[in-house]
Amino acid sequence: METKNIMIVGVGGQGSLLASKLLGYLLLKEGYDVKVSEVHGMSQRGGSVVTYVRFGDKVYSPIIDKGEADFIVSFEQMEAARYLPYLRENGRIVTNTQRIEPMPVITGAAAYPENLIAKLEEKGAVVDAMDCLTLAEEAGSSKAVNIVLMGRLSKYFDIPAEKWQQAIEALVPEKFRDVNLKAFELGRG
């Protein structure tokens, strides 16, 4: 199988590491070769963060380059727009519609772009946008945005929902398990 590429983008501190951990765990169990690449350190302080997840028969590069991502999973809508160049032709964006203003917008040096979802679609991206924060809160924690997104992403994979749920059970501490399983279900819709 040709290598498939999932990019997870968001704002430092939003919990993208758990999402990539979940995907890595699941895809390895499915028998694929997997690579997951993260960036730690400085960018975690509220900066723009990117995680690459790649899987297939044999994966070489740990990173995803422009025009290569089959999926961009975005925790924040402006981050989806920032990484649009990484999407391949006919690639899909799964994004949270939440807006988190970066410091240049807060200080007034820049404006937050409007109508981003429509603009992404105009460029040929297939966009699946949803208010993950509200769904996460409905599940019981605003921190479960990551698992809401994983729930939605799971719809586009041939892997049964139970396998995703088993992965969540294996990776999430017991006291947060129910919240995350609920978040997954709400995301999957």
């Binding site: 997997v34 649009l84 391949r88």
Partner: protein
């Protein structure tokens, strides 16, 4: 069992399986997790040292005593540790010693992107470069074999993409070799000139033996260097010289020599369609292997990040190679970068016409540095900066840092600046340095101020942790690498004992106190130290006790006039909506700094 493992964790696993017994490091991205993972194996003694030089000397001492040891650091940390390392190369070791260094091409979290391979060449030490987690694990074992067989410390060089990428590994059991006996041997270990003179030729002979090892490619069951022949070519086996000369097959063959993460990019672009010489033992380079490989292809490319180490070696050998004339010396490589340089099609991609605002990292909501930095900005003082989270204070809207250089430099730069300019500078210049950075290498700089007497004002930002690298303990926190109680250096007593009489402690959440103390200490004609003390806002416990934050603040829209005064502190929890300030309650920890900015009492507690 097959599992997905971070490169740094796999390296730690390999060191553990190989019987590493003593580990000492100073944290630094992207190397930190190696030691954090080592610390989870309680049959290894592990510690955070005050700095990399100390860590290396501890690891060296343990190897001398007869137990396998390690130390880990980021690339710039190796500069700090260079002094012991260069002479440890002469003395060699008793039991194996591994030095882990992690480079940061692309400067994800660093002030420069120096190439650590130069250190290996200059110190004449063998250096291994894994290309994924599985190699990080196996090279750790090979490193101890090389260390003990060739009597030398061995460097394992990681880079951000190997250190912070997860790939598949298979773990094994720990095999701990018996402790070697320590035998007093001044000719080997006491580096007086007379003894060192005799050790240097031994180092040169060792390098020749290591070149032979590189040509053989294998130590134990670990393959350090390897050729992967293209699929259309018959594998000549171990004897590369038997490979058909290109003139015989007339194919116009391209061969690529690469190392580290570049190997992955080469394979991503070309798969098995070109001949690849993958270098794992980067120093010393395998001269015969390179020569034979070169003879079996028509055109040679060298693909390596940062400096042309392999390329220059090839050129010294008289080979014609392509490399840095087409590929950059700076930043990380990628598959597209390679495609573009080597004339391969790049995948189509689109982007929006409008510019997407940047999202730079910022100081967290409730960060204790914010109140102090706002005061510095208000007073328009010159700020000699240092290395840590607080470097983010140099960004708008705080602009509270003029410069930074390396760990500990703020204090000595301040002294130099003040000696050059005298009173004019002394009254309007300060140094800011974190607690961990101060203990790393700011102490000796403060000794210079105390000894050579400049009227300098040094501010220690004591947030009770090493923040930037993800909350490691340090000698002033009173806890060890496991979070257990240990020795605790009292900063006030330390500073006073150096002869600095003026030591003030301020709460950075209190803007008027910060202003008053700064005004006084800048004016006084004596060396002074201000300790700005508040735990990092992200800490869940301090000194073993749970941190309880204040309730978040809320903006009263009836009182708020939309003057944006609260925005001047650059808190990511505050934004404007419909011309009124809005506080994000998921981020706000109720530090109250914004409240002191508001003249209309609009920001109120939700207690």
């Amino acid at each position: 069992m097959k599992e997905l493992m971070l490169g740094n964790k796999a390296l730690a696993r390999g060191l553990y399986e190989a019987g590493c017994s003593v580990a000492s490091s100073y944290p630094g991205t992207p190397s930190t997790e190696v030691t954090e993972e080592i610390a989870k194996y309680r049959d290894i003694y592990s510690e955070w040292a005050p700095n990399e030089k100390v860590a290396m000397e501890v690891a060296y001492g343990a190897a001398l005593a007869g137990k396998r040891s390690m130390c880990a650091m980021k690339h710039v940390g190796m500069n700090v540790a260079a002094d012991p390392m260069y002479t440890a190369s002469y003395t060699g070791v008793n039991a194996g010693m591994v030095i882990v260094v992690a480079d940061d091409a692309g400067m994800h979290s660093s002030q420069n992107e120096q190439d650590s391979r130069h250190h290996a060449i200059a110190a004449k030490l063998p250096m291994l470069e894994p290309s994924d987690s599985a190699e990080a694990l196996s090279f750790a074992k090979a490193a101890y074999e090389i260390s003990e067989t060739y009597d030398t410390p061995v460097i394992i060089k990681m880079c951000t993409r190997i250190a912070h990428s997860q790939s598949v590994v298979e773990t094994g059991e720990r095999v701990c070799p018996a402790q070697k006996e320590y035998v007093r041997n001044p000719q080997k270990y006491l580096m007086t000139p007379a003894n060192a003179i005799r050790r240097h030729p031994i180092v040169e002979a060792r390098t020749k033996q290591l070149v032979a090892l590189g040509n053989q490619c294998v130590i134990g069951n670990v393959r350090l260097n390897r050729i992967e022949w293209a699929e259309d070519r018959e594998d000549p086996g171990e004897n590369v010289a038997n490979a058909p000369h290109p003139a015989e097959d007339g194919m116009g063959r391209v061969g690529i020599i690469c190392d580290s993460t570049c190997y992955q990019y080469v394979k991503e672009v070309y798969g098995d369609s070109v001949d690849v010489l993958k270098i794992g033992l980067i120093n010393p380079l395998p001269t015969t292997l390179i020569k034979d490989f070169a003879a079996s292809v028509d055109e040679i490319w060298v693909v390596e990040e940062l400096d042309p180490i392999i390329e220059n070696h090839c050129k010294q050998m008289g080979l014609h190679v392509y490399g840095k004339d087409a590929l950059p010396m700076e930043m990380e490589y990628s598959q597209n970068l390679l495609r573009e340089a080597m004339g391969v099609d790049i995948p189509a991609s689109v982007s929006l016409e409008e510019e997407i605002p940047a999202r730079p990292p910022v100081m967290c909501a409730g960060c204790p540095h914010r109140g102090l930095f706002y005061t510095l900005h208000q007073k328009n003082v010159r700020v000699m900066g240092d290395i840590g989270c607080y470097t983010l204070g140099g960004a708008p809207p705080l602009f509270a840092m003029d410069n930074n250089l390396c760990m500990g430099a703020s204090v000595s730069m301040l002294h130099g600046f003040n000696k050059a300019c005298g009173e004019a500078s002394e009254k309007q210049t300060v140094a800011v340095i974190g607690d961990s950075t101060f203990l790393h290498s700011g102490m000796t700089s403060l000794a210079d101020i105390a000894y050579n007497q400049s009227n300098s004002t040094v501010i220690i930002l004591d947030n009770s942790i090493t923040g930037m690298t993800g909350h490691q303990q340090n000698p002033s926190t009173g806890l060890d690498i496991h979070g257990d109680p240990c020795g605790k250096i009292d900063l006030e007593s330390l500073v006073r004992s150096m002869g600095i009489d003026r030591v003030k402690v301020v709460d950075p959440y209190d803007l008027s106190q910060c202003d008053a103390v700064l005004t006084e200490e800048l004016a006084v004609a004596a060396p002074s130290v201000i300790i700005s003390r508040r735990p990092c806002a992200l800490l869940k416990t301090v000194g073993g006790r749970k941190v309880v934050h204040n309730k978040p603040l809320v903006n009263d829209p009836d009182k708020c006039v939309g003057c944006k005064a609260c925005m001047r502190i650059g808190c990511p929890a505050i934004s404007m909506k419909d011309k009124k300030a809005v506080i994000d309650r998921t981020q706000c920890i109720g530090c109250g700094v914004c409240r002191q900015m508001c003249k209309f009492d609009a920001l109120v507690s939700t207690e």
